[in-house]
Amino acid sequence: MDSPSKLLLFEQSIMPHANAAYNLARWLTRNEHDAEDIVQEAYLRAFRFFDSFHGGDGKAWLLTVVRNTCLTWRRREQSMLKVPFDEVIHSSGDVAATRETRLVERSQLGNVRDCLESLPLDFREVLVMRELEEMPYREIAAVTSLPLGTVMSRLSRARRRLQECVTERMKRAAK
């Protein structure tokens, strides 16, 4: 691909998906600054490897790169911190939630957002792609490199976890 047409094609098929890229990165990192850095890095990576994009759905292709960039980023952060990042602690301990409840009233908004934010990454990412991006299973499978059946069962478990969390909070708020 010669350079001008590569740039043009990239701007046409990949640039319009910046919102989807940012939304996924923001939910995966739970942090707006990291999300911005990741999206910018992911776009540069995507441009570098654009020759491997053979048309089709630019969004799913870009989100694959964003997700990989998030995972790399997280590994790097963890090795720098020398503290093993434990999704179980982060998810069941409601770390994000307690931080947020100081800011947000115990409203419905706080509940479902906090709960989604506190789910383990594996669950969070499939829910964000399904419910906020409205992606079909086939595309979620492509982005996560998971078999379709695994996407289906993971979503099912993720929804159950989310529902339990929301119900639990509503009970607590009612007390």
Partner: protein, 244 residues
């Protein structure tokens, strides 16, 4: 079908991701099993809760600008003919040129210049910073805003009760004339509705460009173009509600 398997398939059923034959079995089971039907209703409520209350984080516009600049820089460092082009123009000028050229090159057929214009206006409104001149969900704010700016008065309707809230409007240029663009939202999807006077006889067309659906109709001396990344079905639904 047992309750256990119906429950494990409920999510995929809700997502319309099951094979038709399996889907029928689930539906038959739900018709006879109150507890499974209740579980499905809860899943539906959870979905509505997420879509209503979990934020969809949109990329800040300065981030989008930074990305464009960074990608262009990477492209120039890649070398080739583009380096000379880029040296000849400032980055911003190159940005707007490249975008237009891209759209023109990819759709060179003259027959549908208008739909091409509509498509590029829609995409520009989403990736740039100029989606709204008048951000307001109030039709009585948006409609008068166009007074004196256009030689016609667009029909501004609030469809928030029907699930398509108005978020504002702007002036755009399509086929070398100023037109009204009303902006509606459906969940995180943006709908641009372009309106201008037109002598074209009444007509109805639909088109798809790069995954964006367009619905176009002429009536009562006006042309309407609705464009969005919504499904064709939902965009048609929008048009019907708007016309009511």
């Amino acid at each position: 079908m047992t309750c256990e398997s119906a429950n494990s398939l409920a999510g995929a059923y809700l997502d319309e991701e099951l094979d038709p034959s399996v889907s029928v079995q689930v539906r038959e089971h739900l018709a006879t099993c109150d507890s499974c039907a209740e579980a499905l209703a809860q899943l539906g409520a959870l979905r509505a809760d997420i879509r209503e209350h979990a934020p969809y984080y949109r990329a800040p516009s300065d981030l989008q600008d930074r990305i464009r600049v960074a990608v262009r820089r990477a492209d120039r460092q890649g070398g080739g003919l583009w380096r000379w082009l880029a040296m000849a123009a400032s980055i911003l000028l190159a940005a707007s040129l490249a975008w237009n050229v891209a759209l023109r090159q990819s759709h060179s057929s003259r027959a549908d210049t208008v739909s091409e214009n509509i498509f590029s206006s829609h995409v520009r409104s989403l990736i740039g910073t100029h989606l709204l001149d008048v951000p307001s969900s109030n039709q009585h704010t948006v409609k008068p805003w166009f007074n004196g700016k256009l030689d016609f008065s667009p029909d501004v309707k609030d469809l928030s009760m029907q699930g398509f809230p108005l978020i504002g409007g702007r002036i755009d240029y399509v086929s070398d004339r100023p037109v009204a663009a009303l902006v509606y939202q459906r969940r995180q999807h943006v709908i641009n509705l372009f309106i201008w006077p037109s002598a074209t006889p009444d007509s109805d067309t639909e088109a798809v460009r790069n995954g964006y659906h367009m619905v176009h109709w002429n009536s009562a001396g006006m042309a309407w173009w609705a464009v969005s990344d919504l499904s064709a079905g939902e965009l048609r639904q929008f048009r019907i509600l708007y016309e009511q």
